[in-house]
């Protein structure tokens, strides 16, 4: 008897660690495969498009007379349907606003819910807004804070010191004032500093054949630390250290650095720029490909990324700093701080 009990005790001791697993195996409480979104497509204007779709699904556009309605969006929400409307100073709006026409506001208005505007939007100084989807232009005055996102079919203009939330996207242009903070931008183009007429930039015809070099690579690995000013580089190059591309150089391929990559003024890069360190782009540089840094990207004035008929991307994982008069055609993203800066410190 004692032997049997001892054996049972030992078996129980052995089985004990497996018991929760056996229970889970039988009950299957967490047995579904890990979720993969099978239909997911990256869309830089997702927020605005999605919000418009939700409103459309809730038949908000069929509500013709002004007033406050309760509509079922993702949950039941109060929606104020208006024609062109103006919100006076120091108001706090705690419901969604659906405006058929233009929307304007004075200073210090709090829009605590999303706005959808079929016309143009002009937000006054130091407003706080949740999110705006606009079918026309959106203009934000100085000091406006956006908590989530902005999306416009037309042009987006921001004053100084605006905080632009997670995403700003436009079907047209974006003009950013000084000292604005952002995370993601999409516009054709994105321009910093004063609004100006954006001249069409066109890309040069690709001039670099992607042939293999003698060692089997399509890039040249280099331990050098500089490309001389005015040099023309006819191949993709990968630098194993920090590197400085001299003023006026022309790179017909792509360039990658394992350290900091500094591009001086008047440089032209026909390909992409990748770096494991910082990327610093000097004045009047032109890059026709992507700019991707695992650290920080700083772009000086009068520089252009991509051209008017191509969407390219600027990614600076930790931060992106843009001086006045930078033009970017396409998408910009950072996990950290994105900022339009005043001082001209690059290059």
């Amino acid at each position: 008897m004692l032997i049997v009990l001892t054996a049972l005790f030992l078996i129980a001791l052995f089985a004990l660690p497996f018991l929760p697993g056996i229970v889970e195996w039988i009950r299957k409480r967490d047995a579904e495969p890990l979720f993969i979104p099978m239909e997911y497509i990256r869309n830089p204007r997702y927020f605005g498009n999605s919000f418009r779709r939700i409103l459309k699904d809730a038949n908000a556009d069929s509500e013709s007379s002004p007033g406050i309605r309760t509509l079922t969006l993702s949950k039941e929400e109060k929606v104020e349907i208006t024609r062109s409307v103006h919100f006076g100073e120091n108001l706090a709006i705690d419901h969604l606003v659906y405006t058929r026409g233009d929307l304007t506001s004075d200073g210090h208005v709090f829009f605590n819910k999303e706005l959808y505007v079929t016309g143009n939007v002009a937000i006054g100084c130091y407003n706080v807004i949740q999110a705006i989807a606009g079918d026309g232009d959106i203009t934000l005055a100085e000091g406006t804070k956006c908590r989530r996102w902005l999306d416009a079919e037309g042009t987006i203009r921001t004053g100084r010191n605006c905080r632009l939330g997670m995403s700003v996207s436009s079907g047209d242009k974006i003009f950013l004032g000084k000292n604005c903070l952002f995370h993601r931008l999409f516009g054709m183009p994105i321009v910093t500093g004063r609004e100006k007429t954006v001249a069409a930039h066109t890309a040069p015809a690709p001039s670099l054949p992607q042939k293999l070099l003698s060692n089997g690579l399509t890039f040249k690995p280099l331990k050098d630390r500089a490309i001389p000013p005015g040099a023309v580089v006819n191949e993709n190059v990968v630098f194993l250290n920090d590197v400085e591309v001299g003023a006026g150089a022309r790179l017909k391929g792509s360039i990658k650095s394992h350290g900091t990559l500094t591009i001086k003024e008047d440089v032209v890069v026909e390909g992409n720029i990748f770096s494991d360190g910082d990327i610093i782009i000097g004045r009047n540089a032109a890059v026709y490909g992507h700019v991707f840094s695992q650290m920080t990207v700083r772009i000086a004035g009068q520089s252009a990324i991509s051209c008017s008929n191509k969407i390219k991307t600027v990614v600076g994982k930790k931060a992106v700093f843009l001086e006045p008069d930078v033009t970017i055609y396409g998408f910009l993203a950072t996990e950290g701080e994105g900022k339009t800066i005043e001082q001209e410190s690059c290059g």
């Binding site: 890990l34 997911y40 497509i41 990256r42 997702y46 999605s50 690579l217 990658k256 992409n272 990614v315």
Partner: protein, 481 residues
């Protein structure tokens, strides 16, 4: 006799050192994945210019799955030549399409199939001009030889490879292709996620293994700029580069590991894309799993014998990459080292020579190793599951003990087969992993919904061409990982 005992003791100490190194490696990767800054992949790059891609899908008797992968890949493209669609719908489809079909071609490679695979592929080819099947009924058999024939037909700048049982989501082609904007990238590997997790205990344990391998191991290696491994599927490489290095060696069973090391030795980088996730079918029987793990071990060890020397001598790799490369190459040798160490310790025990070192310090060391060292792989998998947001499946971790003994046995057999392969130069025979999918297979609800809404075939390629696509996408998961 003294010499034998000395050798036995030295081997035991050697094994302890090896185990310690791998324990440290497990913990280091896990802690790095958990607490350190993550290196971002390139999925946030949006580009209006698409590289031409060729998608190779080796198939041998794949009638159960051939239709499904082609349906999913076709639904990523536009147009469908369906004249009944209203113009606005076509515009929506164009927006929703992930990769323009004039920039891609799908090359299913029928490798000596005797079932309906050939007919299914030909049916698709007649409907979609960008599906260009290759039928192989002569020459060498097996995946590497099939891929070589596919490469001859391919015209894309980038080659993307899927196994036939995979279920690629919509954005994955772009996610993989975008990495080749980096001039240094030679190959990229995505993440494999078992779709048939809840079938039985084996599939649940394999799901945990995959989670640990990708979410922690591969991602940590990518973070640390070491050697993420190209896994032969859900991945891509540059066509001209692979052609320049002689395509795939048909004598090797691990053509993916072989490619990883050949690219590295030529100066290219292999990177890992945790975001490029794709469902696969995990083996559902222990015998199928045994054949799979044995083949992996055999192929991986063939690569070890071939590339260990060149890896150490390479001028293209940093010392950390070399260290990681060595540890990676030996990964399928560890079970044998362990088995020998168990025999070794038994011999020493019965010879009365077990006391190698004495004192408090070794006692504490053994205690510490028992507490932490033995659990390092389990800890890694647990953390990986945690990062994936898993909950109760972590309770299955102790069950991996059985997998461990099972793997040890078959990996050891694979090791000895690799030794014989290396010394005799014999030709290896590719053993395809058996498929289990059928009409009754359990699939995640969102895939069932997708199949239903898209009118996709369930298993045998009886696809319906009048499918619709969600023009709105499923969400902006633009994220910097």
């Amino acid at each position: 006799m003294e010499m034998v005992i000395l050798i036995l003791k030295i081997y035991l100490i050697f094994t302890i050192c090896v185990l310690l190194i791998y324990t440290i490696r497990h913990y280091f990767f896990t802690m790095h994945r958990l607490y350190s800054e993550q290196r971002v992949y390139y999925q946030d790059i949006i580009d209006s210019e698409f590289k031409k891609i060729s998608i190779l899908i080796p198939m041998h008797n794949e009638e159960k799955v051939a239709g499904q992968i082609l349906d999913l890949l076709v639904s990523n493209t536009f147009p469908y030549h369906n004249v009944e669609e209203p113009p606005q719908k076509i515009l929506d489809l164009l927006i929703a399409a992930d990769y323009p079909h004039d920039k891609m071609e799908i090359i299913p490679i029928n490798d000596y199939s005797s079932d309906k695979t050939r007919r299914i592929l030909d049916d698709y080819a007649t409907k979609y001009p960008f599906i260009k099947p290759v039928h192989r009924y002569s020459g060498e058999r097996g995946k590497p030889a099939a891929l070589n024939d596919g490469l001859k037909r391919a015209t894309g700048e980038i080659i993307i490879v899927f196994d036939a049982d995979y279920l690629p989501p919509k954005g994955i082609l772009k996610d993989i292709a975008v990495s080749f904007n980096d001039p240094e990238v030679g190959a990229v590997m995505g993440r494999v996620v078992p779709v048939n997790t809840k079938t039985n205990m084996l599939t649940r344990l394999l799901d945990l293994e995959r989670t640990g391998g990708y979410q922690v191991d591969q991602q940590a290696r990518y973070n640390l700029q070491l050697i993420p491994q190209y896994g032969g599927t859900v991945g891509g490489f540059r066509r001209e580069v692979v052609e320049a290095i002689g395509c795939f060696d048909t004598k090797l069973l691990a053509e993916d590991t072989d490619l990883t090391f050949r690219l590295l030795l030529c100066g290219w980088k292999v990177i890992y894309a945790n975001r490029a996730e794709c469902y696969e079918e995990a083996p559902e029987t222990w015998s199928t799993r045994a054949r799979q793990i044995r083949r992996w071990s055999r192929g991986h060890n063939q690569v070890l014998f071939r590339y260990l020397g060149p890896l150490l001598e390479s001028s293209h790799l940093t010392r950390y990459e070399k260290l990681d490369g060595v540890l990676l190459l030996f990964i399928y040798s560890i079970p044998l080292i362990m088995v020998l160490a168990i025999c070794d310790s038994l011999a020493l025990f019965f010879l009365g020579e077990m006391q190698i070192v004495a004192g408090l310090l070794p006692f504490l060391f053994v205690g510490a190793y028992n507490t932490f060292g033995n659990f390092a792989p389990f800890y890694q998998i647990g953390i990986a599951s945690l990062l994936d947001g898993a909950t109760n499946r972590i309770l299955l971790l102790p069950m991996l003990l059985f997998n461990y003994f099972f793997n040890t046995f078959y990996i050891t057999i694979g090791f000895f087969e690799a030794i014989v392969d290396t010394f005799t130069g014999r030709h290896t025979k590719w053993s395809k992993t058996k498929r289990f999918r059928n009409e009754n297979s359990e699939a995640p609800q969102h895939i069932k919904d997708l199949r239903r809404s898209n009118g996709m075939s369930n298993s045998r390629g009886n696809h319906v061409s009048n499918r619709s696509s969600d023009p709105n996408g499923t969400g902006n998961k633009t994220r910097l990982e």
